[in-house]
């Protein structure tokens, strides 16, 4: 799993930024981002809806369910989170279905920075990553040194992945260079941890903005682009994810660097998750059908995936009491 990411890391620094030398100033960034092809809203939503009608049955469904489980960043981001809650979440992440050892583990557990150490200790060497939301999540409204400290804090506590938020205010007012530099600095503060850049697409409002923010985050060195914090509605919609998948596909074609995508928030059913995987498959391509390159930020989704998985293997639908509540 790490192999792919190591390659990417060097490529982000060497290839993309130099070859697409656009980050010199606000105006050069603006010229570049506003020069990207526009997105027609009606057409994009129609395409997403069409992909959502794919009928995924039997063996394809079994593949998709297991893949989706292995892509879940099992998340708890609440004021009421405790060490106990995080430990039980970690247990669930390692063995989502305790009665079935063939059930894959999730990709990561996603927590606030102060609970990273707890999660790390609980997960040990299981291979399940610890992701931490940093940079004054979810609003991103704090001074830069605080955001950097927040990030370093999480990394020092053992976070494998950092989920940062961009400054949407800066983005919407056209201060692209500020957003770029913020991402680049956080990336540096991440050290060897991988950086997911949350665009908070619900606040960016237009698909043109989503495409531009995606490119900005990729140019600045993010390893992943992520839709949402989960605190703003709408969160991860299929059309928004489609636009981001087009962005990573196009970015790889122009730079050779592969970037991951993480829709987060609002994906609650296995049926929805499968629609996302179909979209990954047909828009970005099968290379992205891998937890290294695609994640679901979710909490309740996992149980529905498990229930559908059990139903597929036993032919019976056992109900919510046959999966764990954590």
């Amino acid at each position: 799993m790490l192999d792919g990411m190591v390659t990417t890391e060097s490529e982000v620094e060497t290839t993309s930024i130099r070859d697409l030398d656009v980050a010199g100033s606000d105006s050069s960034l603006r010229r570049f981002l506003h020069g990207l092809p526009g997105v027609d809203q009606v057409g994009a939503e129609q395409r997403a809806a069409a992909l959502g009608t794919r009928s995924i049955k039997t063996s394809a469904k079994a593949y998709a369910l297991d893949l989706a489980i292995s892509m879940v960043d099992l998340t708890t981001l609440e004021g009421q989170d405790t060490e106990g809650k995080v430990r039980s979440l970690a247990a669930k992440a390692m063995h989502p279905d305790p009665s079935d050892p063939t059930c894959p583990a999730t990709a990561a557990v996603c927590v606030y920075p102060d609970l990273v150490a707890t999660a790390k200790a609980a997960l040990g060497t299981s291979g399940v990553k610890v992701a931490a939301v940093a940079t004054a999540f979810p609003s991103g409204r704090a001074a830069m040194d605080i955001k950097l400290a927040d990030t370093r804090d999480a990394v020092e506590a053992g976070a494998d992945e950092i989920d940062m938020v961009i400054d949407r205010g800066a983005f919407l007012s056209g201060r692209y260079l500020e957003v770029y530099e913020e991402i680049a600095q956080i990336r540096e503060a991440c050290g060897s941890a991988h950086l997911k850049v949350i665009l908070e697409t619900g606040e960016l409002q237009t698909y043109d903005n989503v495409r531009r923010a995606s490119w900005l985050a990729m140019l600045a060195g993010g390893h992943f682009i992520k839709t949402s914090t989960g605190k703003i509605q709408p969160a991860a919609t299929l059309p928004v994810t489609l636009i981001m998948l087009e962005a990573v596909r196009d970015f790889r074609e122009s730079t050779g660097t592969m970037i991951g995508v993480k829709p987060a928030g609002g994906i609650r059913t296995a049926k929805d998750a499968i629609k996302f995987l179909v979209t990954v498959n047909e828009v970005a391509g099968p290379d992205w059908l891998d937890p290294d390159w695609f994640r679901f930020g979710a909490s309740t989704l996992l149980n529905d995936l498990l229930m559908q998985r059990i139903k597929l293997s036993t032919g019976r639908y056992s109900g919510p009491d046959y999966v764990t509540v954590d």
């Binding site: 092809p37 057409g43 129609q46 009928s55 394809a60 087009e246 995987l277 498959n281 059908l289």
Partner: protein
């Protein structure tokens, strides 16, 4: 995670909902009767399996059908519009209720993917009857008179069998006309199921008559002296023959014929959606669409980029079993049509255009043609001028908007056109300059019962759909 790939397992729609009889007669005067021509077979183009034996109407059968329609016209035309509307609403509802059955049957007989018959054809059929039902008691407000014409002879093609039936029958009936309709030889089954729906709706006998057969039956129908109105959708060649047949009579005629639509992509277009629109424009319904965007005119500055995106997208099209819910491109409707597509494609190659087909495995039985595009095409190539009526796109380039318009209009046809640009003013300007009945902007192949449809030049005359569609059936 192994990269075994995400292979979609077969997801076939069940055939059990349809009940295909071994043989079918004609629908005349509200009943199924024997035909006296030479019966023919209709086959499933995806498998070449014979589906049923279909009666052929000879001249005498056609005459009986026209007489039945004439008898029924007396009562139907004098019935208050609000009462006619009730029948049309009832038909619309039954179509919606039996939509799955109609969609499956359409896909079996025509070869189109179930997702299209299910999500496009049948819903629009129902919507069309609902729409014209609403007009039946408001004809005086349309401004085309309130009198029906009488008996309408209607001949429809095989590409959208049930949808073309709806486009013909719904406005005719709403205006108080009665009809004799001839479905295409290769796709009669949904029209015959529609006849059953007319019975189910208690439509007065003779208001709708359906005669099956090939060219000679159609000739007998449009040439019948007691027909007041001829409506035809199909090839320009047959359209011209019909125009000759009715010349000198007082029959009213509407013709909806071929096309060679230009889909114009400017360098400021939303490229990913433009690619979707191009794909939809030419590969929807295997390209068996008279308004298909069969010529892509792309601005030179983005031609390479657009072609790259287009080929990548075409490679994801799933060609195969029409009844599989994941099929994007189904079977070519007949051996005859497949031959024509092959011929014209070979000519394209011989004339020097570069052929590229999406890599896909085609089934071993049935009639199939892979999604294909030609580059290095010029206005002088036959594949840029003649209607192929298959999944074959000709790619041409242009440098300026004026050149795009000149090339788009440089065709004997004029049914539809597409414009892809983020610049609203350019859309409006081009819409005025393009000589086509429909100009789609940043979309393609959008159909709505409220929107009129029809062509310029050799694409025919008259409009179907919307308020305009009433004009052809009123005086």
């Amino acid at each position: 995670m192994a990269k075994a790939g995400f292979d979609y397992a077969p997801a076939p729609e069940s055939r059990s909902i349809v009940d295909i009889l071994p043989s079918y007669g004609l629908f005349v005067g509200g009943e199924f009767v024997d035909g006296h021509g030479k019966a023919f077979k209709t086959v499933n183009p995806a498998s070449e399996e014979v589906l049923a034996e279909i009666a052929e109407a000879d001249d005498h059968d056609v005459d009986l059908a026209v007489k039945a329609a004439r008898r029924a016209h007396r009562g139907w035309s004098r019935m208050p519009g609000s009462e006619r509307a009730k029948y049309l609403y009832r038909i619309a509802r039954i179509i919606a209720e039996r939509s799955r059955e109609l969609a499956v049957l359409e896909s079996i007989d025509n070869g189109k993917p179930i997702k299209e018959s299910r999500d496009v054809d049948v819903p629009i059929v129902s919507a069309h009857f609902f729409y014209y039902a609403g007009w039946a008691d408001k004809l005086r407000y349309a401004g085309f008179g309130e009198q029906s014409l009488g008996v309408a002879a209607q001949v429809i093609p095989w590409n959208f069998p049930l949808l073309m039936l709806a486009w013909k029958i719904a406005p005719a009936l709403a205006c108080g006309n009665t009809v004799v309709l001839k479905p295409a030889e290769t796709t009669p089954l949904t029209a015959l199921l529609f006849a059953e729906i007319c019975q189910q709706a208690d439509l007065p006998p003779g208001v709708v008559n359906i005669v099956t057969g090939a060219g000679s039956t159609g000739q007998a129908l449009v040439g019948h002296p007691d027909v007041d109105k001829v409506a035809f959708t199909g090839s320009t060649e047959v359209g011209k023959a019909i125009a000759r047949t009715v010349a000198g009579t007082d029959k009213r005629v509407t013709l909806e014929l071929g096309g060679k639509a230009a889909n114009i992509v400017f360098d400021d277009a939303p490229l990913d959606q433009a690619v979707e629109g191009i794909v939809n424009g030419i590969f929807f319904n295997q390209g068996h669409v008279c308004c298909a965007g069969s010529r892509m005119l792309v601005q030179e500055s983005v031609a390479e980029d657009v072609l790259h995106r287009l080929k990548r997208r075409m490679a994801t099209l799933r060609v195969g079993d029409p009844l599989d819910k994941n099929t994007d491109v189904g079977a070519i409707n007949s051996a005859e049509q497949l031959l024509r597509i092959r011929e014209l494609s070979d000519i394209g190659e011989a004339e020097g255009a570069q052929r590229w087909s999406a890599p896909c495995e085609l089934p071993s039985h049935g009639y199939w043609f892979p999604p294909t595009l030609f580059t290095d095409v010029t206005q002088a190539h036959r594949i840029a001028r003649e209607e192929i009526f298959g999944p074959v796109l000709s790619v041409l380039t242009f440098r300026t908007p004026a050149e795009a318009v000149a090339k788009a209009n440089n065709t004997p046809y004029g049914l539809s056109a597409g414009v892809w640009t983020e610049k609203g003013s350019r859309i409006l300007k081009l819409a005025n300059q393009l000589r086509a009945g429909v100009v789609w902007a940043n979309t393609f192949n959008k159909f709505d019962p409220a929107s009129p449809f029809g062509g310029y030049k050799e694409s025919g005359y008259g409009r179907e759909g919307g308020k305009h569609g009433l004009e052809a059936y009123l005086r």
